[in-house]
């Protein structure tokens, strides 16, 4: 026992995708890795999910795009990105040098849009999985897909036909019952679900009597959303057989443990990267430390082990 706990096994998987550890970084909070590669060796990460790309370039929303709220922040970035052509030509080659699995996050305006994007990405070397952003609260079409189980099922099924690698659907918390959507993903043949994307929210400047964000509403993230995310991960993991990737307010190693216990097979860190650019390496070592202290040989033994 002591032998294993001295170097706990951090390996996990999202379906067929094997990961060196459960700590990934979330879409839109790591750009395409270029800025971060200057700060630390990205190969230590469980994986990188790149900023959402769309078929055509998008400028994004007018400023202000971010604002702080209690224990977190609101954003209404609006998916600015150079479009899939430029992404594949200029960002992906550098990103796959990271030395860890690269998950490409995509968003289409229609089912066919998702399918065309997935087909383009599928032709590339060095992509570990795609994550379908069917849940962005800051673009007009984003939520329509993510809120109807039948549409999610259809998108996932069609994308799956194009992809030699796992397909993960990223779910919105802004729905009546997230487990219904997750079941849609499972029925469509999706390999995993990741959740949560940001929770719709708003900030108001009382003196100007105006919304703080240029887009009026935005998405809440950071420690403030962690309890919501934990509950949704827990409910979802009990409702589907496919793996769940937990996202929401993760800043520490024990946060990761909580998500694993709730049923997540892996996690993503989002907003934490802004406050502490070195949060991911720190969280990985805190997770290792936790396992050593608690005598846990493998992080897999934590997944879904909540005593409830």
């Amino acid at each position: 026992m002591t032998g294993t706990t001295l170097s706990p096994d951090l390996r996990t998987s999202i379906g067929a995708l094997d990961l060196a550890n459960p700590v990934l970084v979330a879409s839109g909070t790591f750009a395409y890795g270029r800025e971060m590669a200057r700060l630390y060796d990205l190969s230590i990460l469980g994986g990188i999910v790149s900023k959402t790309i769309t078929e055509l370039p998008r400028a994004g929303n007018p400023p202000p795009r971010v604002c702080e709220t209690a224990g977190g922040m609101l954003n209404a970035i609006g998916l600015p990105n150079p479009g899939v052509d430029v992404f594949l030509r200029e960002a992906l080659p550098e990103l796959r040098q990271a030395g860890c699995p690269v998950i490409v996050n995509i968003a289409g305006e229609t089912t066919e849009g998702y399918v065309r994007l997935a087909a383009r990405v599928a032709r590339e070397e060095g992509v570990a999985a795609v994550e379908l952003n069917v849940s962005c609260p800051n673009v007009s079409y984003g939520l329509d897909f993510g809120t109807a189980p039948s549409r999610v099922e259809q998108v996932v099924r069609r994308v799956k036909e194009e992809c030699p690698f796992p397909v993960i659907a990223k779910l919105s918390p802004n729905v009546t019952d997230v487990t219904e959507i997750a079941r849609g993903v499972e029925q469509g043949g999706g390999d995993a679900v990741s959740l949560i994307n940001t929770i719709r929210g708003m900030a108001i400047d009382p003196r100007k009597r105006k919304p703080v964000l240029g887009n009026v509403t935005g998405g809440l993230s950071g420690p403030a959303v962690k309890p919501v995310a934990l509950a949704m991960v827990w409910k979802t993991s009990r409702s589907v057989r496919i793996p769940v990737v937990g996202i929401g307010g993760i800043m520490t190693g024990t946060d990761v443990v909580e998500f694993l216990l709730a049923g997540a097979s892996a996690i993503q860190i989002g907003t934490g990267n802004f406050v502490d650019p070195w949060v991911a390496p720190r969280v990985i070592s805190e997770l290792r430390e936790f396992c050593i202290q608690e005598g846990i040989g493998s992080v897999r033994s934590l997944i879904g082990e909540l005593k409830a």
Binding site: E35, L39, R65, V66, P80, N273, F274, W278
Partner: protein, 277 residues
């Protein structure tokens, strides 16, 4: 793109020791910190992302311009106005405490090495202007500074003791000429023979959005080059969140630049100057 910082300089998260925290005017504080790695690389116009507390609240870091950096003693300073909970919390930090500073960040001013430089600072936009004024070599320099009232003329005593020529304006007339800094800028520019200004004069400015917009207009009318340092709300401060968008001055399509990595210093002709962060 104005750029006096080297892209090879990687920002560090330095646990800086607080050397001194002093009120320089009611609500305005100067904070000196021992941060040798940042001090050694900082150029005027760059900023730091300050983790004002180790607690969760306030959550995000706050951006502040580097007001001075001394590589030999390893110290930097910021000068800030208490406007909300982050800056208030920062003002409570005491000498000897450690504060995490991420920096140096962004592109600083491209400092001219000949001709005349008019440095225009409005209100709490003075720190990068002061740092630039004392760093410029080989130029005729004049700082044109404006504030609401005399006690808010930040860095005024330092400019005087360094012998840097400067003009003051206050909105209430309590020091210098009464009125806006832009009026003093126009006056100063009128002193130059018109054919001389285009070639030899350059404006470097930092201040509130309306001031920067007016300064850019004046620069355009006089055919003078102009760099402006702008602000926008930030989450990360180093290019990964896309939060700090400022609209580019483009014809047709709407495009944005990122203040934290493409700026905060921009050529005034490149961006649309209007909205306040």
């Amino acid at each position: 793109m104005p750029n006096s910082s080297s892209p090879s300089i990687v920002p560090v998260d330095e646990p800086a020791r607080t050397l001194e925290q002093a009120a320089v005017a009611p609500g305005f504080f100067r904070l000196r910190l021992h941060a040798p790695r940042i001090a050694g690389n900082a150029v005027p116009g760059q900023f730091v992302q300050v983790r004002v507390t180790d607690d969760v609240e306030p959550f995000l870091r706050r951006p502040f311009s580097i007001g001075d950096a001394d590589p030999s003693s390893g110290s930097i300073e910021i000068l800030y106005h208490v406007v909300g909970k982050g800056s208030r919390r920062l003002s409570e930090r005491k000498a000897g405490e450690r504060i995490l500073l991420l920096g140096p960040l962004g592109n600083g001013f491209r400092l001219p090495d000949s001709g005349t430089v008019l440095l225009v600072g409005g209100g709490v936009g003075m720190p990068p202007v002061y740092f630039a004024a004392k760093s410029i070599r080989g130029c005729r320099v004049c700082v044109i500074q404006g504030a609401r009232c005399a006690e808010r003329l930040l860095y005024r005593d330092e400019l005087v003791s360094l012998g840097i020529p400067h003009r003051e304006t206050t909105e209430d007339g309590s020091a210098g000429s009464k009125g806006l800094v832009t009026a003093a800028l126009i006056e100063t520019l009128s002193d130059f023979p018109p054919d001389e200004t285009k070639e030899t004069v350059e404006i470097l400015a930092c201040g509130p959005p309306a001031m920067l917009a007016a300064v850019a207009d004046i620069a355009r009318t006089h055919g003078v080059r102009c760099q402006v340092s702008v602000e926008e709300r930030m989450a990360c401060g180093f290019g990964i969140c896309m939060g700090c968008a400022v609209q580019k001055r483009t014809s047709g399509t709407r495009e944005y630049a990122l203040v934290c990595v493409d700026g905060p210093v921009f050529d005034a002709t490149q961006i649309a100057l209007a909205h306040s962060p």
